[in-house]
Protein backbone atom coordinates (compact mmCIF):
# COMPACT_ATOMS: atom_id res chain seq x y z
CA UNK A 1 0.00 0.00 0.00
CA UNK A 2 2.96 2.29 -0.12
CA UNK A 3 3.53 2.45 -3.82
CA UNK A 4 2.90 5.73 -5.52
CA UNK A 5 0.09 5.33 -7.97
CA UNK A 6 -2.77 7.66 -8.77
CA UNK A 7 -5.03 5.34 -6.82
CA UNK A 8 -3.13 6.51 -3.78
CA UNK A 9 -5.37 9.51 -3.59
CA UNK A 10 -8.93 8.97 -2.47
CA UNK A 11 -11.44 11.76 -2.14
CA UNK A 12 -13.97 11.69 0.64
CA UNK A 13 -17.12 13.72 1.08
CA UNK A 14 -17.86 14.50 -2.53
CA UNK A 15 -19.64 17.81 -2.49
CA UNK A 16 -20.19 21.27 -3.81
CA UNK A 17 -17.16 22.16 -5.82
CA UNK A 18 -17.09 18.92 -7.75
CA UNK A 19 -13.68 17.95 -6.49
CA UNK A 20 -14.59 14.30 -6.15
CA UNK A 21 -13.60 11.54 -8.50
CA UNK A 22 -9.87 11.82 -8.16
CA UNK A 23 -9.53 8.12 -8.54
CA UNK A 24 -10.08 5.72 -5.71
CA UNK A 25 -13.49 5.34 -4.18
CA UNK A 26 -14.99 8.11 -2.06
CA UNK A 27 -14.76 7.47 1.66
CA UNK A 28 -17.43 8.29 4.19
CA UNK A 29 -16.52 11.25 6.37
CA UNK A 30 -14.18 10.07 9.06
CA UNK A 31 -15.52 10.70 12.56
CA UNK A 32 -12.20 12.20 13.60
CA UNK A 33 -12.34 14.73 10.76
CA UNK A 34 -15.80 15.84 11.85
CA UNK A 35 -15.06 15.91 15.57
CA UNK A 36 -11.88 17.91 15.34
CA UNK A 37 -13.77 20.49 13.30
CA UNK A 38 -17.05 20.81 15.17
CA UNK A 39 -15.54 20.49 18.64
CA UNK A 40 -12.41 22.47 18.23
CA UNK A 41 -12.97 24.79 15.30
CA UNK A 42 -15.94 26.80 14.18
CA UNK A 43 -16.54 30.17 15.69
CA UNK A 44 -16.56 30.07 19.47
CA UNK A 45 -19.15 32.46 20.84
CA UNK A 46 -20.40 32.48 24.38
CA UNK A 47 -23.90 31.05 24.51
CA UNK A 48 -26.16 31.19 27.52
CA UNK A 49 -24.46 28.05 28.73
CA UNK A 50 -21.24 29.34 30.19
CA UNK A 51 -18.36 28.66 27.87
CA UNK A 52 -15.72 28.22 30.52
CA UNK A 53 -17.70 25.28 31.83
CA UNK A 54 -18.04 23.88 28.33
CA UNK A 55 -14.36 24.25 27.72
CA UNK A 56 -13.55 21.98 30.59
CA UNK A 57 -15.77 19.28 29.19
CA UNK A 58 -14.50 19.64 25.68
CA UNK A 59 -10.98 19.27 26.95
CA UNK A 60 -11.84 15.89 28.41
CA UNK A 61 -13.02 14.71 25.06
CA UNK A 62 -10.08 16.21 23.28
CA UNK A 63 -7.83 14.35 25.65
CA UNK A 64 -9.39 11.06 24.69
CA UNK A 65 -9.17 11.85 21.01
CA UNK A 66 -5.63 13.05 20.73
CA UNK A 67 -3.60 11.54 23.52
CA UNK A 68 -3.11 8.22 21.80
CA UNK A 69 -1.80 9.96 18.75
CA UNK A 70 0.40 12.34 20.72
CA UNK A 71 2.48 9.52 22.09
CA UNK A 72 2.91 7.91 18.69
CA UNK A 73 3.83 11.25 17.23
CA UNK A 74 6.47 11.91 19.88
CA UNK A 75 7.89 8.46 19.37
CA UNK A 76 8.63 9.10 15.73
CA UNK A 77 9.62 12.71 16.30
CA UNK A 78 6.68 14.40 14.64
CA UNK A 79 6.42 17.51 16.70
CA UNK A 80 6.38 20.26 14.16
CA UNK A 81 2.64 20.81 14.59
CA UNK A 82 3.00 21.16 18.32
CA UNK A 83 2.79 24.93 18.41
CA UNK A 84 -0.82 24.37 19.49
CA UNK A 85 -0.59 25.83 23.00
CA UNK A 86 -3.33 23.50 24.21
CA UNK A 87 -1.47 20.40 23.12
CA UNK A 88 1.86 21.50 24.53
CA UNK A 89 0.20 22.29 27.85
CA UNK A 90 -1.36 18.83 27.95
CA UNK A 91 1.87 17.16 27.01
CA UNK A 92 3.93 18.84 29.71
CA UNK A 93 1.19 18.22 32.26
CA UNK A 94 1.25 14.53 31.40
CA UNK A 95 5.00 14.38 31.63
CA UNK A 96 4.89 16.10 34.99
CA UNK A 97 2.30 13.63 36.24
CA UNK A 98 4.28 10.67 35.05
CA UNK A 99 7.30 11.95 36.95
CA UNK A 100 5.22 12.47 40.06
CA UNK A 101 3.81 8.97 39.73
CA UNK A 102 7.21 7.35 39.49
CA UNK A 103 8.67 9.29 42.39
CA UNK A 104 5.64 8.37 44.51
CA UNK A 105 6.14 4.77 43.55
CA UNK A 106 9.76 4.94 44.67
CA UNK A 107 8.70 6.44 47.99
CA UNK A 108 6.18 3.67 48.51
CA UNK A 109 8.76 1.02 47.72
CA UNK A 110 11.19 2.55 50.19
CA UNK A 111 8.55 2.71 52.87
CA UNK A 112 7.58 -0.87 52.17
CA UNK A 113 11.17 -2.00 52.60
CA UNK A 114 11.60 -0.07 55.85
CA UNK A 115 8.40 -1.54 57.29
CA UNK A 116 9.38 -5.07 56.31
CA UNK A 117 12.71 -4.64 58.05
CA UNK A 118 10.99 -3.40 61.21
CA UNK A 119 8.59 -6.32 61.21
CA UNK A 120 11.49 -8.72 60.85
CA UNK A 121 13.34 -7.02 63.68
CA UNK A 122 10.31 -7.13 65.91
CA UNK A 123 9.55 -10.75 65.12
CA UNK A 124 13.07 -11.92 65.85
CA UNK A 125 13.42 -9.66 68.92
CA UNK A 126 10.36 -10.67 70.92
CA UNK A 127 9.13 -14.25 71.22
CA UNK A 128 5.55 -13.60 72.34
CA UNK A 129 4.92 -10.94 69.73
CA UNK A 130 2.68 -7.91 70.23
Amino acid sequence: MTSGTVANVASAEPGIAGGAGLGGSPEPANLGDILERVLDKGLVIAGDIRVNLLDIELLTIKLRLVIASLDTAKEVGIDWWQDDPWLSAQASERARRRELDSSRERELQDENRRLRRRVQALESGSSDGG
Binding site: V9, G32, D40, L58, L65, D84
Partner: protein
Amino acid sequence: MYAVTADSEDPLTGRLTGVGGGQLRAARAAGLTAIVGDVSEAEFGEFTLRSNLEDLDWVERTARAHHAVIKAVAEQCPVVPMRLATVYASDRGVVQTLRQRAGDLRVALARITARSEWGVKAYAAEPTDLGPAPGRPAGDQASPAIGPGAAYLQRRRAQLTADKDARRSAMASAQAVYAELCRLAVSARLYPPQSPDLAGRRAPMVLNAAYLVPDERAGEFAAAVTDLGASARSVRLILTGPWPAYSFVGGNDAAIRDEGA
Protein backbone atom coordinates in the same frame (compact mmCIF):
# COMPACT_ATOMS: atom_id res chain seq x y z
CA MET B 1 -27.11 27.86 16.87
CA TYR B 2 -25.39 26.26 13.90
CA ALA B 3 -24.05 28.93 11.63
CA VAL B 4 -24.23 32.50 10.41
CA THR B 5 -24.71 33.75 6.88
CA ALA B 6 -25.29 37.15 5.31
CA ASP B 7 -28.77 38.60 5.65
CA SER B 8 -29.36 38.49 1.92
CA GLU B 9 -29.18 34.71 1.89
CA ASP B 10 -32.17 32.44 2.30
CA PRO B 11 -30.61 29.11 3.12
CA LEU B 12 -33.69 26.84 3.00
CA THR B 13 -33.89 26.59 6.75
CA GLY B 14 -37.48 25.33 6.69
CA ARG B 15 -36.45 22.22 4.82
CA LEU B 16 -33.60 21.20 7.10
CA THR B 17 -33.82 19.35 10.38
CA GLY B 18 -31.28 19.80 13.09
CA VAL B 19 -29.90 18.00 16.12
CA GLY B 20 -32.75 16.03 17.67
CA GLY B 21 -34.86 16.20 14.51
CA GLY B 22 -36.37 19.66 15.06
CA GLN B 23 -36.91 22.11 12.22
CA LEU B 24 -34.50 24.93 11.66
CA ARG B 25 -35.28 28.60 11.33
CA ALA B 26 -33.50 31.86 10.77
CA ALA B 27 -32.88 34.60 13.32
CA ARG B 28 -31.89 37.89 11.73
CA ALA B 29 -30.14 40.95 13.08
CA ALA B 30 -27.43 43.43 12.10
CA GLY B 31 -27.48 42.35 8.47
CA LEU B 32 -26.73 38.75 9.42
CA THR B 33 -28.74 35.53 9.55
CA ALA B 34 -28.22 32.90 12.20
CA ILE B 35 -29.35 29.34 11.48
CA VAL B 36 -30.92 28.09 14.69
CA GLY B 37 -32.95 25.13 15.87
CA ASP B 38 -34.49 24.13 19.17
CA VAL B 39 -32.86 21.48 21.32
CA SER B 40 -34.32 19.96 24.45
CA GLU B 41 -33.22 21.27 27.78
CA ALA B 42 -33.08 17.69 28.99
CA GLU B 43 -30.15 17.11 26.64
CA PHE B 44 -28.52 20.52 26.47
CA GLY B 45 -29.12 21.94 29.92
CA GLU B 46 -26.01 23.02 31.75
CA PHE B 47 -25.64 19.83 33.78
CA THR B 48 -26.84 17.20 31.33
CA LEU B 49 -24.75 18.72 28.57
CA ARG B 50 -21.79 18.29 30.82
CA SER B 51 -22.27 14.54 31.15
CA ASN B 52 -23.46 14.11 27.57
CA LEU B 53 -20.19 15.56 26.35
CA GLU B 54 -18.42 12.78 28.19
CA ASP B 55 -20.38 10.22 26.19
CA LEU B 56 -18.62 9.61 22.92
CA ASP B 57 -21.70 8.05 21.29
CA TRP B 58 -23.77 11.09 22.12
CA VAL B 59 -21.02 13.35 20.89
CA GLU B 60 -20.75 11.44 17.63
CA ARG B 61 -24.48 11.57 16.99
CA THR B 62 -24.71 15.24 17.83
CA ALA B 63 -21.57 16.19 15.93
CA ARG B 64 -22.77 14.44 12.78
CA ALA B 65 -26.16 16.17 12.96
CA HIS B 66 -24.52 19.54 13.61
CA HIS B 67 -22.16 19.01 10.70
CA ALA B 68 -24.96 17.88 8.37
CA VAL B 69 -26.81 21.16 8.90
CA ILE B 70 -23.75 23.31 8.32
CA LYS B 71 -22.77 21.33 5.25
CA ALA B 72 -26.24 21.66 3.73
CA VAL B 73 -26.23 25.41 4.31
CA ALA B 74 -22.68 25.75 2.99
CA GLU B 75 -23.84 24.19 -0.26
CA GLN B 76 -26.22 27.15 -0.64
CA CYS B 77 -24.17 30.11 0.49
CA PRO B 78 -21.04 31.24 2.38
CA VAL B 79 -21.41 30.33 6.01
CA VAL B 80 -19.55 30.78 9.30
CA PRO B 81 -19.86 27.51 11.25
CA MET B 82 -20.38 27.67 15.02
CA ARG B 83 -18.76 25.29 17.41
CA LEU B 84 -20.91 22.38 18.57
CA ALA B 85 -23.28 23.17 21.43
CA THR B 86 -23.52 26.92 21.12
CA VAL B 87 -26.77 27.11 23.05
CA TYR B 88 -29.04 30.01 23.94
CA ALA B 89 -32.10 30.09 26.17
CA SER B 90 -34.06 31.98 23.51
CA ASP B 91 -33.74 33.68 20.13
CA ARG B 92 -33.23 36.93 21.98
CA GLY B 93 -29.79 35.77 23.01
CA VAL B 94 -28.97 34.84 19.43
CA VAL B 95 -30.03 38.24 18.12
CA GLN B 96 -28.02 39.97 20.82
CA THR B 97 -24.95 37.94 19.86
CA LEU B 98 -25.37 38.80 16.18
CA ARG B 99 -25.41 42.49 17.11
CA GLN B 100 -22.46 42.28 19.48
CA ARG B 101 -20.27 40.17 17.20
CA ALA B 102 -21.39 41.60 13.85
CA GLY B 103 -17.92 42.94 13.10
CA ASP B 104 -16.11 39.62 13.67
CA LEU B 105 -18.79 37.70 11.84
CA ARG B 106 -18.55 39.93 8.78
CA VAL B 107 -14.77 39.62 8.69
CA ALA B 108 -15.07 35.84 8.94
CA LEU B 109 -17.73 35.73 6.22
CA ALA B 110 -15.65 37.85 3.89
CA ARG B 111 -12.66 35.63 4.47
CA ILE B 112 -14.41 32.39 3.54
CA THR B 113 -16.64 33.64 0.72
CA ALA B 114 -15.88 31.85 -2.56
CA ARG B 115 -13.40 29.64 -0.70
CA SER B 116 -13.66 26.14 0.73
CA GLU B 117 -11.74 24.10 3.22
CA TRP B 118 -9.95 20.98 2.03
CA GLY B 119 -8.39 18.39 4.27
CA VAL B 120 -5.20 16.57 3.37
CA LYS B 121 -3.98 13.65 5.46
CA ALA B 122 -0.89 11.60 4.90
CA TYR B 123 -0.32 8.12 6.25
CA ALA B 124 3.02 6.43 6.58
CA ALA B 125 3.37 2.81 5.59
CA GLU B 126 1.81 0.38 8.03
CA PRO B 127 4.24 -1.19 10.48
CA THR B 128 5.43 -4.42 8.97
CA ASP B 129 4.52 -7.73 10.51
CA LEU B 130 7.33 -10.00 11.42
CA GLY B 131 6.87 -12.93 9.06
CA PRO B 132 7.50 -16.56 9.94
CA ALA B 133 11.09 -17.67 10.18
CA PRO B 134 12.47 -18.45 6.75
CA GLY B 135 12.58 -22.19 6.17
CA ARG B 136 15.99 -23.64 6.60
CA PRO B 137 17.37 -24.56 3.25
CA ALA B 138 18.10 -28.22 2.73
CA GLY B 139 21.68 -29.00 3.64
CA ASP B 140 21.45 -26.35 6.34
CA GLN B 141 24.04 -23.77 5.37
CA ALA B 142 22.98 -21.30 8.03
CA SER B 143 25.69 -20.51 10.48
CA PRO B 144 25.42 -22.96 13.35
CA ALA B 145 26.47 -20.18 15.72
CA ILE B 146 23.06 -18.52 15.41
CA GLY B 147 20.21 -20.26 17.15
CA PRO B 148 16.57 -19.64 16.29
CA GLY B 149 16.17 -17.17 19.20
CA ALA B 150 19.10 -15.04 18.15
CA ALA B 151 17.97 -15.17 14.55
CA TYR B 152 14.56 -13.93 15.61
CA LEU B 153 16.08 -11.04 17.52
CA GLN B 154 18.24 -10.15 14.57
CA ARG B 155 15.29 -10.06 12.23
CA ARG B 156 13.24 -8.10 14.76
CA ARG B 157 15.99 -5.50 15.08
CA ALA B 158 16.33 -5.13 11.34
CA GLN B 159 12.60 -4.75 11.02
CA LEU B 160 12.42 -2.04 13.69
CA THR B 161 15.19 -0.10 12.02
CA ALA B 162 13.42 -0.37 8.69
CA ASP B 163 10.15 0.85 10.21
CA LYS B 164 11.89 3.79 11.80
CA ASP B 165 13.57 4.75 8.55
CA ALA B 166 10.27 4.44 6.73
CA ARG B 167 8.58 6.75 9.21
CA ARG B 168 11.34 9.29 9.04
CA SER B 169 11.12 9.38 5.29
CA ALA B 170 7.31 9.57 5.52
CA MET B 171 7.61 12.58 7.80
CA ALA B 172 9.91 14.34 5.40
CA SER B 173 7.49 13.67 2.55
CA ALA B 174 4.60 14.92 4.65
CA GLN B 175 6.34 18.19 5.35
CA ALA B 176 7.16 18.65 1.70
CA VAL B 177 3.54 17.94 0.74
CA TYR B 178 2.32 20.42 3.35
CA ALA B 179 4.57 23.19 2.12
CA GLU B 180 3.85 22.54 -1.55
CA LEU B 181 0.07 22.68 -1.03
CA CYS B 182 0.36 25.85 1.05
CA ARG B 183 1.37 27.62 -2.13
CA LEU B 184 -2.07 26.96 -3.63
CA ALA B 185 -3.99 27.92 -0.52
CA VAL B 186 -4.97 31.22 1.05
CA SER B 187 -4.44 29.84 4.50
CA ALA B 188 -3.52 26.55 6.14
CA ARG B 189 -3.86 24.92 9.51
CA LEU B 190 -2.24 21.84 11.00
CA TYR B 191 -4.18 19.45 13.16
CA PRO B 192 -2.45 16.90 15.35
CA PRO B 193 -2.37 13.48 13.73
CA GLN B 194 -5.43 11.42 14.61
CA SER B 195 -5.11 8.36 16.76
CA PRO B 196 -5.28 5.14 14.74
CA ASP B 197 -8.54 4.15 16.52
CA LEU B 198 -10.28 7.28 15.36
CA ALA B 199 -8.86 7.27 11.88
CA GLY B 200 -9.77 3.62 11.46
CA ARG B 201 -6.38 2.75 10.04
CA ARG B 202 -3.37 1.06 11.46
CA ALA B 203 -0.86 3.17 9.60
CA PRO B 204 0.42 6.15 11.56
CA MET B 205 -0.85 9.51 10.34
CA VAL B 206 2.01 11.89 9.63
CA LEU B 207 0.10 14.87 8.30
CA ASN B 208 -3.34 16.23 9.12
CA ALA B 209 -3.78 19.60 7.49
CA ALA B 210 -6.62 21.88 6.48
CA TYR B 211 -6.36 24.38 3.65
CA LEU B 212 -8.53 27.31 2.69
CA VAL B 213 -8.62 27.23 -1.10
CA PRO B 214 -10.32 29.67 -3.49
CA ASP B 215 -13.10 27.78 -5.27
CA GLU B 216 -11.69 28.60 -8.68
CA ARG B 217 -8.46 26.89 -7.66
CA ALA B 218 -10.15 23.78 -6.21
CA GLY B 219 -9.46 21.74 -9.33
CA GLU B 220 -5.82 22.75 -9.38
CA PHE B 221 -5.50 21.93 -5.70
CA ALA B 222 -7.02 18.46 -6.13
CA ALA B 223 -4.77 17.80 -9.10
CA ALA B 224 -1.75 18.85 -7.05
CA VAL B 225 -2.73 16.38 -4.33
CA THR B 226 -3.04 13.64 -6.93
CA ASP B 227 0.38 14.47 -8.38
CA LEU B 228 2.04 14.65 -4.99
CA GLY B 229 0.40 11.36 -4.01
CA ALA B 230 1.78 9.76 -7.13
CA SER B 231 5.33 10.99 -6.61
CA ALA B 232 5.65 10.59 -2.84
CA ARG B 233 6.50 6.96 -2.36
CA SER B 234 6.64 6.83 1.41
CA VAL B 235 3.21 8.30 2.15
CA ARG B 236 -0.35 7.75 1.10
CA LEU B 237 -2.42 10.92 0.71
CA ILE B 238 -6.12 11.32 1.43
CA LEU B 239 -8.01 14.38 0.26
CA THR B 240 -11.27 15.31 1.97
CA GLY B 241 -13.62 18.10 1.15
CA PRO B 242 -14.89 20.50 0.32
CA TRP B 243 -15.68 21.26 3.94
CA PRO B 244 -17.46 24.29 5.33
CA ALA B 245 -14.61 26.53 6.44
CA TYR B 246 -14.57 25.36 10.07
CA SER B 247 -10.86 25.81 10.46
CA PHE B 248 -10.70 29.38 9.22
CA VAL B 249 -13.36 31.36 11.01
CA GLY B 250 -11.57 32.40 14.15
CA GLY B 251 -10.29 31.09 17.42
CA ASN B 252 -6.76 29.89 17.58
CA ASP B 253 -4.71 31.59 14.91
CA ALA B 254 -1.37 30.44 16.28
CA ALA B 255 -0.92 27.69 13.74
CA ILE B 256 -2.36 29.53 10.80
CA ARG B 257 -0.16 30.64 7.97
CA ASP B 258 -2.17 33.39 6.45
CA GLU B 259 -2.05 36.25 4.04
CA GLY B 260 -3.13 38.54 6.86
CA ALA B 261 -6.55 40.00 7.69
